[in-house]
């Protein structure tokens, strides 16, 4: 089914990574007849490999190579983090493309506006939603209302929220695109056992393979991107699972390894021409690393909720996705249902003794939500590399340096209060909020797009400002995090980028 390409075939686009960005850009290019070789560091699972056990699935698909500093919850498997995500897919709002213009100057931050607008991205949001089967869009019904969502909705209505919806999920609400509707299994974060949740593993990748313009190489860890004397990329060096090093020639390269590996690959590809790494002549590579403001609220309700019965995340409140200075912070946030198994609830609540145990005694009466909110870019939040420590590939170990801005602290305090009010309005017996739970599952920035080369790493198409045929295709592109979960925007940008690349090739500009 799948095409095989020669190592010295320099007509192919090499895509590094097979997740939301890499999987999508691969398939979109292949559909347009562009030949693609996709290098994925992990293995290819099948639906039969998915079991309802978080520890086992983390072993099968988590990224476990050594990293230091702030933890990031990433995947090394075909499909990348689309295997682990919850499928919540709100769009950015107009102001979120213009944070610098909207928020003015935020002390200590490095805010810029996006080099594109909502109007410009909207057609690609449409394409992404249609591709992924987002519930409540393009004729697809809203998602099933879980009991956890019903609690959030009722409490949200009591406190006066208007924009409460079980739409905007990339988990099939009906049988669609050869995949079943959600069976409410409830282990979304450990891979969807029936394939109802959109993952590139069983959508983009097999569709690309059907085109005869695509080859997936698994267990292929990219080590270095090589270029010629004019700064034009000519190949990607990678090591296969047997330890054999290969060099695949390329007409263009798209890097989509999620923020840590994207930074590392560009950094490690330094050369005489680019001594600080590719795309780093202005010093922005690896900087402005953003993770989303997160805050969790769990409440013991007056009756049974059984939030384990169904999708982990099944509905959202969008009223706070706005900029309003009177709240005491810039940017907005989105409230989203969240559910988890007893062990993770104990870990998230923290502590020990009677208080923690009593909370767990009430497990079936617990309702929960968390927020994702805009995290401003700061130059000192960055990915660097350890001076001496090396991982199993012999590569320098990444170090994730991250701290919270005062704006983020103010936002999550506001959010915790709002979420607590929602549950108290329904007579919650006990409410607990915890900051920064889930930090590191949304990773953005490090190779941001900018209008001016001096302000970022990539241009409005995600191409490196300083190289003609090297692209970044994942969340690393984001100049700001905005409030929404990032995947829909990553997919929309990847569709748009693939169109740009194919057009440029047709015009012989690439």
């Amino acid at each position: 089914m799948s095409r095989r390409y020669e190592f010295d075939d320099d007509s192919v686009v090499v895509v590094v990574g097979s997740g939301a960005g890499g999987g999508t850009v691969s398939n979109e290019l292949a559909q347009k007849g562009v030949d693609v070789v996709c290098l994925e560091a992990g293995n290819r699972l099948s639906l039969a490999d998915v079991v309802n056990d978080a520890a086992v699935m983390d072993g099968k698909m988590g990224w476990h190579d050594k990293r230091l500093g702030a933890p990031a919850w990433l995947c090394k498997t075909v499909g990348g983090t689309t295997m682990r995500w919850s499928g919540i897919t709100p769009r950015f709002r107009d102001f979120e493309f213009r944070p610098r213009s909207t928020y003015a100057e935020l002390h200590g931050t490095n805010l810029i506006d996006w080099p594109l607008t909502l109007e410009e991205l909207s057609p690609y949001y449409d394409k992404a939603e249609a591709k992924m089967g987002i519930s409540g869009t393009h004729g697809t019904p809203p998602s099933f209302e879980t009991s956890n969502y019903k609690v959030l909705k009722a409490g949200g209505q009591r406190v006066g929220y208007q924009q409460i919806t079980s739409e905007r999920s990339a988990i099939n609400s009906v049988t669609r695109d050869g995949r079943p509707a959600c069976q409410q299994i409830g282990f979304c974060w450990s891979g969807c056992a029936v394939g109802a949740k959109w993952s590139t593993l069983y959508t983009e990748i097999p569709k690309a393979e059907m085109t005869d313009h695509f080859e997936l190489r698994t267990g292929a860890m990219a080590l270095k991107i090589r270029h010629d004397n004019n700064g034009k990329v000519r190949s990607v060096v990678y090591v296969d699972s047997g330890g054999v090093v290969h060099e695949q020639k390329a007409r263009a390269v798209c890097v989509a390894g999620n923020v840590v590996e994207t930074t590392r690959l560009l950094h490690n590809s330094n050369s005489n021409l680019f001594p600080e790494g590719l795309g780093n002549s202005t010093g922005h590579l690896g900087r402005n690393y953003m993770r989303h403001v997160m805050s969790l609220t769990l409440a013991i309700m007056p009756g049974e909720v059984n939030f384990h019965r169904g999708a982990r995340q099944s509905g959202i409140i969008l009223d706070e996705q706005r900029h309003d200075d009177s709240r005491g912070f810039a940017g907005g946030y989105i409230i989203e249902t969240v559910a988890d198994q007893p062990y993770n609830i104990a870990a998230m609540i923290g502590g020990w003794g009677k208080e923690t145990a009593d909370f767990l005694e009430n497990y079936t009466r617990v309702a929960g939500c968390w927020i994702t909110g805009e995290d401003p870019p700061e130059a000192h939040n960055r990915i660097t590399f350890h001076a001496t420590e090396r991982d199993a590939y012999g590569l320098p170990v990444p170090v994730l340096e991250y701290s919270h801005h005062a704006n983020s602290v103010a936002m999550r305090q506001h959010a915790a209060q709002q979420c607590e009010t929602i549950y108290k309005s329904l007579g919650a017996k006990r409410v607990e909020s915890r900051p920064d739970v889930g930090g590191g599952c949304h990773n953005m920035g490090v190779a941001r797009m900018s209008e001016r080369p001096a302000d970022g790493v990539t241009n409005r198409w995600g191409r490196l400002h300083e190289m003609p045929n090297l692209f970044v295709s994942d969340g690393s592109l984001f100049p700001s995090s905005a409030a929404p979960n990032p995947t829909l925007t990553i997919v929309a940008l990847a569709i748009r980028q693939a169109e740009h690349i194919a057009d440029a090739m047709a015009r012989r500009e690439l």
Partner: protein, 175 residues
């Protein structure tokens, strides 16, 4: 820690298989566990064992769970080939520290004093190791799951779509 959890799960599965009652939760009795510990010479002695089972309960106290459940959690971590010996030393360190902070035996203090002694060592590495072991063992364990009514994996019965998803009967009509 993941490996400990896996080891424990395998243990539970094998106990269920041996008992011939699929789905039944078998709690090994204290006698059987004492025997198992006694058969691991040099691991931990009887006093340490007794105190640590008590500490495990005070970490995550659930009246419905027997001492055997807590003892089994510690035993599973001790039986880990990689980290078992380190864990045995950590239990001994905790026991020594608790004893040093008690006039007489820690076990004989009243509940408040026992907890106070535990709080005084909660920033220690060995305390965190024991806490992690007990938290994972109890809350990933079928005894607790059965007690609170959490069924665990749902894939095999087809998920909750036709098994109670969305059911809630106490929400107010008037919002």
């Amino acid at each position: 820690m993941d490996q400990n959890r896996l080891t424990r799960r395998r243990f539970i599965i094998s106990v269920i298989a041996l008992s011939g009652a699929a789905g039944a939760v078998v709690e090994p009795g204290l006698f059987a566990l004492s025997k198992a510990w006694a058969e691991s010479p040099g691991r931990v002695d009887e006093t340490v064992r007794r105190n640590m089972v008590r500490m495990a309960r005070l970490l995550y106290p659930h009246d419905a769970l027997s001492d055997g459940v807590y003892a089994n959690v510690l035993e599973q971590t001790l039986s880990n080939i990689v980290s078992g010996d380190i864990f045995a030393r950590q239990l001994e360190e905790a026991n020594t520290a608790l004893t040093e902070r008690s006039a007489g035996a820690w076990q004989d203090l009243d509940l408040v004093a026992q907890i106070e002694a535990m709080k005084s060592i909660e920033s220690e590495t060995y305390f965190a190791a024991i806490q992690n072991s007990v938290r994972a063992g109890i809350y990933n364990g079928s005894a607790f799951w059965k007690h609170v009514g959490y069924p665990g994996p749902s894939k095999d019965f087809g998920g909750y779509l036709h098994h109670g998803a969305g059911e809630i009967d106490w929400l107010p009509e008037n919002l």
